[in-house]
């Protein structure tokens, strides 16, 4: 069965560039690009939601379905 990928939305207007989502993603999906968080490797995402849960700024959403 093919794996369905989530959509990861980063709201730059809210992102304060704290690195939390990037550092604690277990699959190294995210990276910092300039000031903001950005998606580097969506394929690896396991939809664990850790990034969305920990972002202090409501700036990252993992949309699964």
């Amino acid at each position: 069965m093919e794996k369905t990928l989530p959509k990861i939305e980063i709201i730059e207007k809210y992102c304060k560039g704290c690195h939390i989502c990037v550092e604690f993603c277990p699959k190294d999906v995210l990276e910092m690009k300039g000031f903001y968080a950005s998606v580097k490797n969506l394929e690896a995402c396991i939809k664990c939601m850790q990034c969305e849960l920990r972002c202090p700024d409501f700036a990252i959403k993992v949309i699964t379905e």
């Binding site: 704290c18 550092e23 920990r54 993992v62 699964t64």
Partner: protein
Amino acid sequence: MAFDYDKWIRPGKLPHIWCPGCGHGIVMKGLIRAMETLQLKKEETAVVSGIGCASRLPGYIDCCTLHTAHGRAAAFATGVKMARPEMNVILVGGDGDGTAIGGNHFIHACRRNIDMTYIIMNNYIYGMTGGQFSPCTPTGHKASTTPYGNPDPGFDIAKLAIGAGATFVARGTAFHANQIDKLIVEAIQHKGFSVVEILDDCPTTYGRRNKFKSVIEMMNRLKEVAVPVKAAEKMTAEQLQGKVLTGVLYKDETKPEYTVEYAKVIERAKASK
């Protein structure tokens, strides 16, 4: 599915004022998830705070809110609860607000066992005013007012709450984000005074001064020191050195609740006329 926080945020209020990596935002999200889990009604829910960075939280939440005087959240919240006992009353604030200037209000709310939930964001410092030490700053740590290291021992907020008579006491951390809402849900469901301490981070006024290189280092520290109560049962005193217990630390469902007792006082007074 991504969680819809927007329902509980006042329109146009984001981005919030907290610094990059400040854990207060993580706690606010946990509170919102808890309110949604419990399907609280906005008009029946009051979030009350004192003063401080943590105390800015009610400004963002779309329900009944009260931003009061420094350390006085418990007093104002008690007024709300006594006037409208059917309301869910949630207090939020920092370690400075709650254990320094507001310490007295805190212990007496615990003693009364009034049915409210108090979420204390403990970042070990007065963040808002530039990093003065608080009663929770650990011994030896630096603050703007203790540049050579704090000589005082810090308060253990959870023990203080238990000692003063709170009937539900829990502790979590800003790192363990998915536990925050679960603890708050249990606390709100508890009939009596419930305290949820969240070990938090203030990278701006505490982290830098105490040689934390980044927010990530502060988060890793929270990850390292936290030990769930269940896991601690199997650990030796030596292994528990320097650790902090997390989870539900205390629960007593037998103690009378204040608004119920006060209603009886009203009945007695009416009957005696």
